[in-house]
Symmetry: C2
């Protein structure tokens, strides 16, 4: 009864509660903006570390072609198999299997295997492989973001209570501001080569405020919570959070890549592209796709969608807000329950998650060098990042969920769920490293933060909402 | 009545016909071996042209990472769209659509666009893109060969009449020997850098004796001939031809890559690997897969198959007979009608043929420079290659099909069908260019031969077996 009451409360039309929410929401956004500008002004006085551009593995000389293929196959096979085994182990430990794959990639990279058995690491993930691995990994992640977009049910989002929007945005704003504050500490130490304070602070803020929709959905399904009011609310919040965070990231990438004057042009173009996709392409796609009522899809339609995917990725990359955003956006505007979306999801999911994402895990593992985090001070900072991310996410969610009328236990559970960062965080971090916004040591710390916060979710949730039956 | 009589004749137990076939088959193989050694001894006295190693586009310096992604997306999008449009046009002209994609790749490369509008060619297919395009293309072709293997119905092959085996092998032996003879003419002019006569001659022989099973199957389906006795016989011959030609190619690659003494080791290992796959892995797979009666497949099984695919490709590459053979072999030993095979075929086919193969078409197009074929003499030689390929394939098939009891009209039709080389030939040619067995001008001539023979099939077949109804 309590649960359904809460759900009703969240969705209901209690005038006072709704007004209170709106005022709180508006106040929060204004306060956040003011706070950001104070922190940003402060931070602009800081001096970045005098670093060389990071020696990317991607800069290495490529091997000969036959060798390149052999090493790519070896890397994919090893990471796929190790990732599956570790994923299985993680599953038995109550952890999302995808984290097993992430950890497998890290262990095979310079962090562990490179330290204890350099010859094996050089055989499995030689630095000459990086450019090729990057290509496969990028293609895989583009397809993956497209699938994440396809899974997104915009229809449900629109029916979501205002409470979900407020909770989602608070759960972004609070860790975001904590991240910007943390950037004051991090910028003199770990900023990338020649990056200004503002894009750096924005990026750290984003990195702390990511929620991984797919991993969260997986955790809920594993605990059979996806149909409970709490589960539905969590999915809604995470989906809104995803869209918001990716829009913010697009903004940050735009700012980081553009010269000062160009940033506005980039943002205007991005807004125009998003508007075009939602207001023009989406209604057309909606009508057009209604003609296809059952599978199989004609081959020509499949080709059209892949062409649109490539073009949308290219458009956002050309605008300056990363190809991944275009892939995600195209997925998001395709009706979630169309035959097309269902066919693409069921056909592509296995190939992308099983064969292509290991390239991403291997690539991320190659770039994550935990050995770069050295000394008590740096480990304290790493701990601080994890604490800030968790406190910001759980605290922000808890606060607004309580305000929205949720009980303490459910509000805390929601906060823990939103603290899941998973794969999505790693994708964001790789973009930051690619753009030279963050340095390799900070990248390693952030990867640890992503792994730690994601892996904390299931055990903590278990305390609040014990799983009924083990599978 | 005539057709069913013929089919009966082919499958029947007419003692004389069968004995005659066996004797003819044995005599053919012996004669072919003798002929090969005569030609080979003769050819070994020839001197290869004094060429530098071909300046491969693959040797170019890779672009920066973000640029690399943009150019990869541009190339894929352009070739996908141009290929689809040209494929549609080809379809209306009664040609296999896949040839439209092949031709699109060639037109966008140095052969046409590079000549008439170099800036556009450098934008769409810059040489810095080659290494990345090669990686995606190789992954795509590995998956494609796996699918071709999955489509192969070994059960049907075993039930095929001896006639099909004899026809298939004759249709390989005759063009193969013509190719070896032609190699005497080609070796002093177009051999790759530092290649001996024997691997060169073997390779030219193979290149002339390829039949493209998938394109042939597509042509038969388009003309609704796939269930006729002629269609079934053609599919059987093409499938046997595929297996045989790929085994021969594995042999040639082994010879070309190995030192003289190592060649035997390579061949012994290859034979051992094939035996292992057929005698050990296949029965296990057969039993194991019988447990899965209906879709969806568990994710773990999908991962297992992808891991097996990577490992099988690696094994054959390590043995020295190209990764593609391992992929094909794994597909071939998986029961054709298992849920696994059907699920993989239906899930992967679109992604592989629509999104990944354009990378192969683009890559092949980049490497095909028809401008390298210059002067009357070279064009005459190019014509000679086309004539030898056609005469060998059609003649060899016609001869043995007549011997097997087929009427003139059907025997000719069968010969024309077997003359389809399509994509499979391009895959083989790329291997030859990768191994430096053939030179870029010969590569261009062979590509023209593949396109010409494949595109000749449908119109000539139309004369013999007019299509009943246009779709």
């Amino acid at each position: 009864m309590q649960k359904s009451h809460e759900a009703e409360h969240l969705d209901g039309n209690h005038g006072i509660s709704r007004l209170r929410l709106r005022i709180a929401y508006g106040a929060m956004l204004i306060a956040a903006a003011v706070l950001f500008f104070v922190l940003d002004t402060w931070g602009k006085e800081l001096v970045a570390p005098a670093t060389e551009p990071a020696a990317e593995p991607g800069a290495a000389v490529p091997a000969s072609k036959a060798d390149a293929l052999v090493h790519l196959l070896i890397a994919l096979a090893v990471v796929l198999i190790a990732g599956r085994l570790l994923g299985r182990l993680f599953y038995y430990l109550g952890q999302p299997p995808v984290m097993g794959e992430v950890v497998a990639g890290i262990l095979l990279g310079p962090s562990l295997l490179g330290e204890v058995w350099p010859a094996a690491a050089a055989f499995i993930l030689p630095s000459s492989l990086a450019p090729n691995l990057a290509v496969v990994s990028q293609l895989g992640v583009i397809l993956y973001m497209f699938l994440v977009g396809l899974e997104l049910n915009l229809g449900v989002l629109r029916r979501q209570a205002h409470a979900a929007v407020v909770i989602a945005h608070t759960s972004i704003v609070v860790p975001f501001l904590l991240g910007v504050a943390l950037a004051l500490l991090l910028y003199p130490r770990f900023a990338g080569h020649a990056v200004a304070f503002t894009p750096f602070a924005l990026f750290v803020g984003i990195a702390l405020s990511i929620t991984a929709f797919p991993v969260l959905a997986r955790i809920l399904t594993d605990r059979q919570m996806q149909r409970t009011p709490l589960g539905i609310l969590a999915l809604g919040c995470a989906a809104i959070g995803d869209v918001t965070a990716w829009c913010l990231l697009a903004f940050v990438v735009g700012v980081a890549q553009a010269k000062l004057g160009d940033a506005l042009v980039t943002l205007a173009l991005a807004a125009a592209y998003i508007a075009l996709m939602f207001l023009v392409v989406r209604p057309i796609a909606f009508r057009f796709l209604a003609h296809f009522e059952k599978p199989p899809l004609p081959r020509g339609l499949t080709a059209l969608i892949f062409a649109a995917l490539l073009l949308s990725a290219l458009a956002t990359e050309a605008i300056g807000i990363h190809a991944l955003f275009g892939a995600f956006l195209l997925g998001a505007i395709i009706p979630h329950d169309s035959v097309l979306a269902r066919t693409f999801l069921s056909n592509l999911e296995d190939l992308v998650t099983v064969l292509l994402l290991p390239a991403f895990f291997a690539f991320t593992g190659m770039r994550t060098h935990i050995g770069l985090v050295s000394g008590m001070e740096q480990w304290l900072i790493c701990g601080l990042i994890i604490v800030a991310a968790t406190v910001g996410k759980v605290g922000g969610t808890l606060f607004s969920a309580r305000l929205g009328g949720l009980g303490w236990r459910n509000a805390t559970a929601l906060g823990l769920l939103m603290n899941t960062r998973g794969l999505m965080e790693l994708i964001v971090l790789n973009i930051g490293l690619d753009l030279n916004v963050i340095s390799p040591p900070l990248f390693a710390m952030m990867v640890l933060m992503a792994v730690a916060t994601t892996m904390a979710t299931a055990p903590l949730l278990q305390l609040l909402h014990p799983k009924n039956a083990e599978p």
